[in-house]
């Protein structure tokens, strides 16, 4: 299965929406850099993420989240926080990595 990565804000660009529209059941999405804004509770995209969880695994890169002033408590329920080591593990566990640039 694919690991999708999204590095841009869902408010600024369409890459997050396109990624979610193309992520198949069983695949995973990792939010990095400004992509972490898609993982936040109370923001406009919350339902897109919470509806997808279960069918797809949604992960967010902790260091990028913390840099932007957010912690575990700010993240939508079911989104898993990983560090760079976890990023590497995700890449290794999935067959292919697709970056939505």
């Amino acid at each position: 299965m694919l690991l999708h990565t999204v590095n841009k804000s869902p408010f600024e660009r369409n890459s997050f929406a396109q990624c979610m529209g193309h992520a198949k059941k069983g695949s995973s999405v990792l939010l990095i850099e400004d992509g972490v804004f898609a993982a936040l509770k109370g923001a406009a995209n919350e339902s897109v993420v919470s509806n997808a969880i279960g069918d797809i695994g949604v992960y967010v890169l902790g260091p990028d989240l913390n840099a932007r002033g957010m912690t575990d408590e700010d993240v939508i329920d079911g989104v898993k926080i990983v560090d760079y080591t976890g990023f590497v593990e995700l890449a290794a566990e999935h067959d292919v990595v697709q970056s939505w640039l």
Partner: protein, 130 residues
């Protein structure tokens, strides 16, 4: 596992160069191999030794050079992209009639075939960009 990495953006302007570095570092620390890091598009700007970042900021180019030295990572700058953007080693400089060169230690300049090869040889290829 063997990882290949493509970097599409230069240092400082976008986080891409930082993300790629942090990923590579974590992969090496976890016992994986980095088959090659290929710098394409503005990514070639990671390979200039003429940067002088502020003292309290990270030194992105130096980090790459150290990664190459410490872990024997192959850092390849795309020649075509580099020519458009003014990154060259002594050979390239001479060939193009330039009076200076700026390639940083640990980097080498080569063709796009090196990217394809990284795709073939690596178990996983990751792209970092804008």
């Amino acid at each position: 596992m063997k990882f290949g990495i493509q970097v599409n953006e230069g240092p400082y302007q976008h986080q891409a160069a930082d993300s790629a570095y942090n990923f590579a570092k974590a992969a090496i620390d976890a016992g994986h191999e980095i088959f090659r890091i290929f710098f394409y598009h503005d990514g070639v700007n990671n390979g200039t030794r003429l940067t002088t970042p502020p003292q309290d900021d990270r030194n992105i180019v130096k980090r790459w050079s150290e990664l190459a030295a410490d872990h024997n990572v192959d850092l390849v700058i795309c020649v075509a992209a580099a020519q458009r953007r003014g990154i060259c080693d002594a050979d390239e400089s001479k060939r193009n009639g330039k009076d200076a060169d700026n390639l940083a230690e640990g980097f080498r300049i080569s063709g796009l075939g090196q990217l394809i090869e990284a795709g073939i040889e690596s178990d996983r290829l990751l792209v970092f960009g804008d």
